[in-house]
Amino acid sequence: MKTVAKLLGAGVFAVLGTLPLKAQQLVVWHDLGDNGVKWFEAMSAEFAKTKPGVTVRSLSFPTDQWFGRVISALNTDTAPDLIYNNYERVIRIETQTGKVMDLKSAFAGVADKSFLGEDDLRVATFKGKQIIIPIQRVQMAFGVRKSWLDKNGGKFPDTWDEVKVLAAAFRDKDPDGNGRADTFGMALQAAKPRDLIHMLDLFTFGSGLRHTLIDPEGKITIDRPEHAQVLEEFLKTYSTYKFVSPDTVNHSFGEMYQIIEGGRGGMFRVGDWNVRKWDGANVLDGDFVSGPWPKFAANRPNSVVIGGMRGIAVPENSPNKALAVEFAQFMLTKAAQQASLENVGAAVRKDLDVSKLSPRSQYFAKAEHRLVAYDFPESIHSFYPELEAAFHRKLLSGIANPPADWKPFIAETAKEMRDLAAKLKN
């Protein structure tokens, strides 16, 4: 039966005409969309200078499809040559398949890498294996619509109290002047665990705290007073304060961008990768300013957040493994990094030419503000994703039915998280 099917398949395939097989083509799967595709095209051209005849082809999938596809491809030995994504997503691929190659010796073979610090390498390592070579540091700032801000005093909000005043004004005072009450103080997201907790991460780290949910020793932090304050204000933003679109509980990044790019949100997250698009005439036309996340207490420092690290990984069953590793190493060279900065807006090298970038991109490229990095709990606690999912469910239920007093809710949540963490650890 198998032979018959093969013959049948081969027959139809012959009718269709097979695609010519390229001698040396590396395939990389990512989720960066068309700008990411352009970036890989630029790198492919550069790589061919030292490796004639080699082309690099990149394919972009929506993030959820990227997961399913990579996992099943690695499981069935139909893997692409390289995969590219955020470190925590590569960790998930590794835990599901165990087939992400250890790049430790490949990384050791890169001469020019002093710009990567200890934090960067910690993120790249999971259970003793270096699963990615870090390529793009992901910076996220707090953004405000410039023209709206100018109508409301013009001062970039530094503290949470100032943010609240502005958010109410943006919602109520028709900042876009179209005569309709159709604007929102902020644009956030909440649909999936990574959406809501990610937003909470930004407010938490941006205001000088070190952990969102759990510290490296495995202690739950959310009910410590300074953490509880951020969490409570954060939850009220979605509920009692009514600063965000009522749809937000169901919004993931796509819908969040819709609100921002549709010009209806006043304050929002600005990732370094967003700037290029938002500078566009049909989008925000550069009408936004970026700054550090607001402070919740006057005496704490606030910062722009390094919320992740994107890196290149090589599957164990990559068809052209040696060449794939070479390309992964190549991605740290100045030319490749410059292309990364220009196409996607992020890089890890510090010696790149930023003069061609817009002032809003330069804000990130020059790191004009204090930067603080995540604590990357998933690289320390392997049970973190499950804990985070439970935390997300709990917070969403709170947002859906806001309690009159959030403090008991937070205390109760902390207890549940402690119980769950203890259970998951075993």
Partner: protein
């Protein structure tokens, strides 16, 4: 026959109800079409506008490449996959249904018919999951051939043919057998000529149904190289954001050809689908 005033009122009420429901059913199409020509910001500030501010086709060049693959590849895949799977479906199902109707007594034929019926009862999206494994084992993963072969079977096609062949009077065939015709001659000289209209109906319906397919294509594909338009439409989100106007433009491209085809052949399609279903 003169109408009474109460009848006239009733008639007005009936038209009003049917009219409102129809407009509600058609509105999404209009909104999709208009949105394809309006910048995202304009749609968001005034979603109800019935006409675009201006007619501007630049969005189609903006979505000229999606996910690293050219738009025309998706269009070509849609035409190729839908066209070939339709052709295959008509041939394979016609022959299969004919044999099963003529000789249900042959060993294995009952089993085959039940196997087919069970397979179409199986939750489709969950059948596709093991199909991934089958395609992997057959080495057809990521190939056009795998997708086309999978899309060639469908319940409505089978029921339509089965019903048609059952309706052919037994005397006609018996007379041919008495005249000494071989089974091949009966099939090609007697059965197939009369089966032309039903084959056209089946082809039409299969084309419409397979054009809409997305999940098996997504699963069997290894890369966007074999995606069709609906799958591309579903893949329009990336980590760096989504293009709302582009999504609407692609939705128009996906819908328009099929809507036109349907309107041209509406009678055949609606009657065919109704009788195919009634049989099943």
């Amino acid at each position: 026959m003169r109408m009474r005033p109460s009848d006239i009122l009733l008639r007005i009420g009936a038209y009003a109800a049917a009219g409102v429901v129809s407009l509600v059913f058609l509105y999404p199409y209009w909104w999709m079409l208009v949105s394809a020509f309006r910048p995202t910001r304009a749609i968001m500030s005034n979603p109800l506008k019935l006409f675009p501010e201006r007619i501007d086709f630049s969005i189609f060049s903006e979505i000229g490449r999606i996910g690293g693959v050219d738009l025309w590849v998706y269009v070509w895949n849609s035409v190729l996959i839908t066209g070939l799977s339709t052709l295959l479906s008509v041939v394979v199902t016609a022959l299969g249904a004919y044999a099963l109707v003529r000789r249900p007594d042959l060993p294995g034929f009952r089993f085959l018919r039940y196997g087919f019926l069970v397979a179409i009862m199986y939750p489709y999206m969950l059948l596709v999951i093991p199909v991934y494994i089958v395609m992997f084992k057959l080495g057809l993963l990521g190939s056009h051939a795998g997708i086309i072969l999978f899309l060639a079977l469908g319940p409505i096609q089978f029921f339509l043919f089965e019903q048609f062949f059952r309706a052919i009077p037994g005397e006609v065939i018996e007379a041919a057998i008495i005249d000494g015709a071989s089974e091949a001659q009966i099939l090609f000289r007697i059965v197939l000529p009369v089966a032309a209209p039903i084959s056209a109906t089946v082809a039409l319906i299969t084309f419409l149904l397979n054009w809409s397919q997305w999940f098996p294509i997504l699963i069997v594909s290894k890369s966007p190289d074999t995606y069709t338009l609906p799958v591309a439409l579903l893949s329009m989100n990336s980590e760096l954001g989504s293009n709302f106007q582009g999504i609407m433009a692609l939705a128009v491209l996906t819908t328009l050809p099929i809507a036109v085809l349907f309107l041209l052949a509406q009678k055949r399609v609606m009657e065919g689908m109704a009788s195919g279903a009634v049989k099943g």
